[in-house]
Symmetry: C2
Subunit: 351 residues, 2 copies
């Protein structure tokens, strides 16, 4: 059905080589001839076959992008950035989701390989490391976004996890909290341990203890986080603040707090991570670490593009997050009056 270079060659009375050259603006073809051929091509609705071209050029102008799930709003923003840059540079995006299923991960690798994608962006946090080593056998450039597998790959673009939670924890400490919990992820993610590390560092610098019961393991999702923190929040030995692995986890904590009739931030201050678009609409709005999500996608694709051009490129790029203070954090109840009176009454010294 689709018309080929051959038929437009006949129509134009030239060889198909000439048509090919004319259509690709080869300097060999005089512009008059080229225009004539292009016109005929256009009139007949000619569209070059990328697949035929790829066979000879050995380039598909396609990149593979893997995420665990594109329903995850974080991934959506990231992929949006990737896709825009890719498209601007004439690359198509082949999107695959692993759903965190090992068999799906395997299929994705196979599929990328068979399609001969020129490069890959792994834009997801939960891919198994077995999978990663398969990917590395593909012999195409790979960029990891928020790298969870340090050392396995050379190129990555990540958020500065540790500084993020460090800033969040410092913020809580400066409000007067000293009983602060950390609600992490249970999959042993690199990002989780980095975030935990930032938390710990701030705590130890302030010489604050973190009892083991204050270190919770969720799963990065709302329900998992809720389950992970319920017992602690229901106990007499409650923290006054909690630093969460991400916003979805924070949402789970808010659910439990509502359930236990704990007031936020009066009884419990909460900090998230990511700054997903809806966090400012929560009641109270969530204090969180903003990740430049789209930017992460843009930079990853730009890095991949550089690699594709054979340019030497930054190996590991790290972007900074930003603490966004909103209503979910405030001074702990016991210290509220001190803080207020200290502010209103300048002759009162706070401890």
């Amino acid at each position: 059905m689709a018309i080929s270079i051959k038929v437009i060659a006949q129509l134009a009375g030239v060889s198909h080589s000439t048509v090919s050259r004319a259509l690709r603006d080869s300097p060999l073809i005089p512009s008059a001839t080229a225009e004539r051929i292009k016109l005929i091509a256009k009139q007949h609705g000619y569209s070059a076959s990328a697949v035929a071209r790829s066979l000879v050029t050995k380039r598909t102008q396609a990149v593979g992008v893997v995420v665990t799930s594109i329903a995850d709003p974080f991934n959506g923003e990231v992929v949006d950035g990737i896709e825009q840059v890719a498209n601007q540079h004439g690359y198509s995006v082949i999107l695959a989701t692993s759903q965190a299923l090992p068999e799906r991960e395997l299929m994705v690798v196979r599929s990328f390989q068979e399609r001969r994608v020129d490069g890959i962006v792994v834009a997801s946090s939960r891919l198994g490391s077995h999978y990663m080593s398969l990917l590395s056998e593909l012999e195409v450039p790979i960029v990891l976004l928020n790298n969870q597998h340090p050392g396995m790959f050379v190129h990555s673009v990540s958020i500065d996890n540790a500084s993020g939670t460090y800033a969040a924890t410092r913020h809580l400490i400066s409000l007067g909290h000293n009983r602060i919990a950390y609600l992490g992820d249970q999959l042993g993610l690199e990002s989780d341990s980095e975030r935990f590390h930032g938390f710990q560092q701030a705590m130890s610098e302030a010489q604050l203890e973190v009892p083991v019961e204050f270190i919770l393991k969720g799963d990065g999702k709302r329900e998992g986080a809720a389950q992970a923190c319920r017992a602690l929040l229901d106990s007499g030995d409650r923290p006054t603040a909690i630093v969460c692995y991400n916003d979805m986890s924070a949402l789970g904590v808010m659910d439990v707090a509502a359930n236990l009739e704990l007031s936020i931030p009066l009884d419990l201050s909460i900090v998230g991570f990511d700054d997903l678009f809806f966090t400012s609409a929560l009641q109270p709005p969530l204090t969180t670490i903003r990740q430049p999500k789209k930017e992460l996608g843009v930079r990853s694709m730009e890095l991949l593009l550089a690699l594709l051009k054979g340019e030497a490129a930054d190996k590991h790029e790290v972007l900074q997050g930003e603490l966004v203070v909103r209503g979910s954090t405030d001074a702990p109840k016991g210290r509220t009056y001190q803080a207020i009176s200290a502010g209103k009454n300048s002759d009162t010294r706070s401890s």
Copy 2:
């Protein structure tokens, strides 16, 4: 770099035709030979070239999926459904975003055409109709998700828009509201006029007037919706309830309400549309029409698959939404006591 059928033919001491057949489990090849060849292929990391295969079979086993933006959480869930079904059936998804830019839409069509995708799912609401007619020239099956261009295409999967807002409006009326506004979209979307129609029908059935000032035009987004409703909500002539085109619009209304210190649902009841995942976490949680988002994606891809197989398929499939009543709707203030006392005190008759 990638090994070809030819070299494994040499290795196995057979012709490349035999290798091709063995690898594709042709019944012509005895299983012993086939196994031997497969083993060699595996040992040498052979991976068939989808591009070479596509050139001869005229099938790419790839489908194009267009959305305006994959950062939109609604689209994320939809595409997740599409991708899962596609992958299960051996199809890859080429994702393109139009960003509602005409020049991008044009590029997307070109790109799908050059890549010779086997079919297309248009999973987005805001594609220009010029673009749609370009798409229809592609001569591949096209499925429209939440079809905005009735008549232009034969195959679509949609939510029942009118029944959704009809149910939402009935719900408000049954709570005692009679001053109900509709906040729509300004792009002349089919879904918007259908949703408005459902609203209108419920109102006229209840013999309730809808003053023109109560018909607002947003843009389906938070800020646009906020802007569209601010003046009305700030006036003395305020509605007691508002039916929104979608959840993001409802979010904008909530912003304005908070700003004007209107209490929800006491001063204003709000209904959304979509049931995005965060709506249940809002304060108050949002009453909305749930769209089966993933299901819409799944069905669309299944429909496309059927078309690809040449099966006669449903032309226009319509899925039903579901009213999810949450805290953002209640009886209007003036009637609250009546409603309560009518409930508590069975000898009191409400009007």
